[in-house]
């Protein structure tokens, strides 16, 4: 079909709209009457019939679509529920009746189980909540969870749920065949995997018990009724009443019995009861008693009998570690149980494989990172949901949620969301971090977060776990405020404050867990970030002290973990940095520094071999090459220097084209280009140097254009324009050099207004003025009618430069040891030169 002209499109628009305004059956004739010609009429027909067929297309926003899935309430007609035809009753219990049913429309055959619940939903708000919860459950998709396919409510208000039909036998029936210990553990681990998956989706089962678990003929566990307890909870008005009714006392946790918050920890407890039962064939609490009250009392106050005293053939195997695992699940205090199902299953797998069972729980950050790594797609989904909520569309959903005045329930939900969001939502900031144009949004997030942090800190008291989290948070704040490596908002004073806060908290958290290296790594990262801020301030002494600290920390970490290739790499990397200030050590140190970078490079390759294709190791590899290039350069080996830069360029080029939307690889590429450009310049190849500088400038202009708030890119662009001016001067007319310096001045004025405390920006501002003075002086030197004006321009610029530079402490030293003094000396003598010329011309 040929594309429509804009004129035709205009007609199509008008006709489409007109046709929609008339009743559906009359649309066709209406179009016939009004369409000017056949092609337009056809187009409108097609569109109208498309609309009639799919009126709901795109009506649900992307993010909500992710949450809601495609389940809808369908009305019930007799024994047919939606597309499902009930076939036979297969079970009956406290909650309702279970039917086997088939889908009997033309498209496909599907066998399902339909549970018709006896608990009535008493109001429209109850139904709405039920539907909402059900939609969340419908998105659970795991081989170990019977999928919730559909659901709705019958005319009498009883809700029904359509679930995947599972073949197999119930766990208690399966246990009756006396499977071996190994088989039991395998099935238990598959149960864990399903529960763990659900927890990642903010769903707590709340009613794990053998009757809810099927073992398939293949020997895999399959969980039924996931979240159904909570689902009914959601739909019911009489909350407390249903809650007591809905859990099975034998598998309840102490907090459930007491009617307190039900969180993932309750599922960990229930898994402990299951494991106890599977391993000992006894109940852990009030074994043999049928009295519900007695069971509930025992759950809250009795310690279960030691598992290895049970009369089972493998009781010797239970002794020690395995029973310690079981008992850790069954602690009365949720805080003392395994922090996650993942930690539990890891321990069991470790026991099975003869590995060390972990004595203490993994840190929060580590767990979170693992979760995030394992479930990137999920992170994206939640991130989107959150973004859309920020954007406003989800607001109604959450307002409705808040409006439910069940404080407890909201609190419970909040706890779950918090715990899981902690791990998953990390990605929100990171995902937008490298997107061009996101600096402003990041700043917004950070401002909001800071406020929150301050509150949290004020109320947090003396909690070391919290301290460590807060330290991590402050560090991130500092990173957004100013960072030498990536886009930032440019607020160095605030960044220093944030990082000092982070350091204080990290130091106070460190002694709490002497066995945990996490705090030391955290301290290392904070010190690196801080040293960068001091570098921006020209405070060489403090920066060196911090770098020495960093070096010490990472050397210690590597020494304590000789097998860890990553730590080894970081130690070598830090060593090389400390030795050479990057690659820049000169004289006798240059050779030592070269060796250090060669070591770091080979360690970086080792890490990459361990994690091929991972972005972070690849980036490090490129950075090693660049620093190695600098190191070669300082030993005078220019050919090797150039080759190293070439390697770095090749890697970053590839990264940049693989992630065109991301600013970070562009920035890295920029640094490579500049390094390589300077090498060409020093070798006297001005032409090659200018090619690199031009490309570097183009890259930075791109980044600046895409992100109006990016401080780093603007400052770097200004620096490039200033420092490359002499090279440009070889090929360009003075007028163009002046134009570029003025462009640089524009960025620097913006940067200084944005961050008045940034001495690096101030230094370069003075420097730019000084270069501009040089440019005018060169022009003046050519003579001509305007020479006098040019001398005056030059004098003015030098004077301004002096005024700007005089605000910097005399001892401050910036990149390559440049301080204000050397620039000012030159300015002063240049001013004198200008004046003498002006005198003479007069």
């Amino acid at each position: 079909m040929r594309p429509l002209t804009s004129e035709e499109w205009g007609r199509v628009r008008a006709l489409f709209e007109g046709a929609l305004a008339v009743a559906a059956p009359e649309r066709q004739s209406w179009i016939d009457q009004h369409a000017p010609d056949k092609p337009v009429a056809n187009e409108v027909y097609e569109l109208i019939s498309c609309y009639e067929q799919w009126p709901d297309f795109l009506e649900e926003s992307a993010a909500l679509g992710l949450v809601a899935g495609d389940v809808r309430v369908s009305p019930l007609v007799g024994r047919r529920l939606g597309p499902w035809r009930l076939e036979r009753e297969i079970g009956r219990g406290g909650m309702g009746v279970v039917w086997e049913a088939v889908r009997d429309d033309q498209t496909f055959q599907q066998r399902v189980a339909i549970k018709i619940l006896s608990a009535g939903l008493q109001s429209s708000s109850g139904i709405a909540r039920f539907v909402e919860e059900r939609q969340i459950l419908a998105n659970l998709s795991h081989p170990g969870i019977a999928r919730l396919l559909d659901g709705g409510s019958m005319e009498d208000g009883s809700p029904y749920l359509v679930m995947e039909y599972v073949e197999g036998e119930r766990l208690d029936e399966w246990l009756a065949h006396s499977p071996s210990l190994g088989e039991r553990l395998r099935v238990f681990l598959s149960i864990c995997s399903a529960v763990e998956y659900a927890h990642r989706h903010l769903i707590v089962h709340g009613d794990l018990k053998p009757a809810n678990i099927m073992v398939t003929p293949q020997g895999e566990a399959m969980l039924l009724d996931f979240g159904v307890a909570k689902l009914l909870d959601a739909g019911s008005e009489a909350l407390t009443q249903t809650r007591t009714r809905l859990f099975s006392p034998r598998f309840a946790s102490p907090e459930q019995v007491r009617g307190q918050l039900v969180t993932t920890a309750a599922d960990v407890h229930a898994l402990g009861v299951l494991l106890y039962l599977m391993l000992t064939e006894r109940q852990p609490y009030a074994s043999g008693s049928e009295d519900t009250l007695e069971v509930m009392r025992a759950i809250c106050s009795d310690e279960p009998p030691t598992p290895s005293t049970a009369p089972v053939p493998w009781r010797k195997a239970l002794r020690g570690e395995l029973e310690a695992i079981v008992l850790q699940c069954l602690r009365k205090d949720p805080e003392e149980r395994y922090r996650s199902v993942h930690a539990l299953s890891e321990d069991i797998a470790a026991w099975r494989d003869g590995g060390p069972v972990r004595a203490h729980r993994p840190g929060w950050v580590q767990r979170a990172r693992k979760l995030v790594r394992r479930n990137r797609a999920l992170s994206a989904a939640i991130m989107l949901a959150v973004l859309s909520m920020i954007g406003g569309s989800g607001v109604a959903f959450w307002q409705a949620h808040q409006a439910r005045q069940e404080r407890q329930r909201a609190e419970m939900r909040f706890q779950q969301v918090k715990r899981l969001a902690h791990s998953v939502l990390f990605d929100l900031h990171d995902a937008i971090r490298d997107l061009p144009g996101s600096t402003a949004a990041r700043r917004l997030l950070v401002q909001e977060a800071l406020e929150y942090l301050r509150e949290l800190e004020a109320t947090g008291g003396n909690n070391r776990e919290l301290d460590s989290e807060l330290a991590a948070a402050y560090m991130r704040v500092g990173d957004v405020q100013t960072s030498l490596g990536r886009a930032n908002t440019g607020d160095s004073a605030a960044a220093m404050q944030s990082l000092l806060n982070a350091r204080r908290l990290a130091v106070s958290a460190a002694p709490a867990n002497p066995g945990e290296e996490r705090q030391m790594q955290q301290l290392r990262e904070i010190d690196i970030a801080l040293s960068d801020v001091y570098r921006q301030q020209g405070d060489t002494k403090t920066r060196r002290e911090l770098r020495a600290e960093v070096d010490k920390i990472s050397a210690g970490l590597a020494a304590r973990h000789p097998q860890d290739r990553k730590l080894r790499f970081l130690a070598l990397w830090d060593r090389a940095w400390t030795l050479g200030e990057g690659g820049r050590a000169e004289g006798g140190k240059a050779t030592e520094n070269l060796g250090a970078w060669q070591n770091a490079l080979s360690a970086a390759r080792d890490v990459l071999a361990l994690e091929p294709g991972e972005p972070e190791p690849i980036r490090y590899l490129a950075r090693c090459y660049r620093n190695l290039g600098d190191a070669y350069k300082n030993t005078g080996d220019r050919a090797s220097a150039l080759e190293s830069y070439r390697q770095a360029l090749a890697i970053d080029d590839k990264r940049a084209s693989a992630e065109p939307a991301s600013a970070q690889p562009k920035m890295d590429l920029y640094f490579d280009l500049v390094a390589s450009g300077w090498e060409h310049h020093d070798a006297g190849h001005e032409e090659a140097a200018v090619v690199e500088f031009e490309r570097a400038a183009r890259l930075l202009r791109q980044i600046c254009a895409s992100d109006p708030d990016d401080f780093l890119a603007r400052l770097e662009l200004a620096k490039l324009l200033i420092t490359a001016a002499p090279s440009w001067q070889h090929f360009r007319r003075e007028a163009e050099v002046i134009e570029r310096l003025r462009e640089a001045l524009g960025y620097l004025e913006w940067a200084r207004a944005r961050d008045p405390n940034n001495l690096d920006a101030r230094l370069h501002h003075g420097w730019a003025l000084s270069e501009l003075g040089d440019a005018w002086a060169r022009r003046a030197g050519l003579g001509g009618l305007q020479a006098r004006d040019h001398w005056r321009e030059a004098e003015e610029d030098y004077t301004k430069s002096l005024a700007t530079l005089s605000g910097i402490p005399a001892g401050a030293r910036f990149d390559d040891g440049i301080g204000p003094g050397m620039l000012m000396d030159r300015d002063t003598s240049q001013v004198a030169l200008c004046r003498s010329h002006l005198e003479r011309v007069r």
Partner: protein, 156 residues
């Protein structure tokens, strides 16, 4: 006078609790704050979401790993006609629409990716609600057909 450039020494910051908490806070107090520039933020969020979704869609296409569980419900209907269309295709179709009618493409971006209501989209675009509604109906219908055409082309 010359200098070498190095970016900062080292940088392996991982995500922190901070952002989560920031978001949670925003969620919990949806009306607690006024964005300085609502319109701008909406447009930005929509653009970001579109980018992220499409990136994930692409990643899923290239690497069909088990992580690719990100299903985007383009259809909210049940029964016939429900088809699990791909967000990448939608994105391409949206690019085509932009050539034909830039305003409509913006409306779709704000409504579908940004989750804005008709009224909010109207505010963001500085148009009347009734105009936005009209543009929306035609735009999404056009896209629907475009996707069907694309599918037919692949089937052949």
């Amino acid at each position: 006078m010359q200098r070498l450039r190095n970016e900062r020494a080292n940088h392996t910051l991982q995500c922190t609790a901070l952002v989560n908490e920031a978001c949670l806070r925003l969620i919990r107090h949806p009306n607690g704050r006024e964005w300085k520039d609502r319109t701008h933020f909406f447009a930005f969020a929509a653009r970001v979401m579109r980018g992220i979704l499409v990136d994930y869609g692409r990643a899923r296409r290239t690497a069909k790993r088990d992580a690719g569980q990100l299903r985007v419900a383009l259809y909210s209907t049940h029964g016939e006609g429900a088809m699990d269309a791909d967000v990448v295709d939608l994105n391409d179709a949206l690019d085509d629409l932009e050539e034909l009618d830039a305003v409509q493409s913006r409306v779709v971006e704000l409504r579908y990716f940004g989750g804005l209501s008709i009224e909010e989209a109207a505010e963001a675009l500085d148009l009347s609600s009734s105009t936005v509604k009209r543009e929306w109906l035609l735009a999404k219908t056009w896209l629907r057909r475009r996707l069907l055409e694309g599918r037919a082309a692949i089937d052949q």
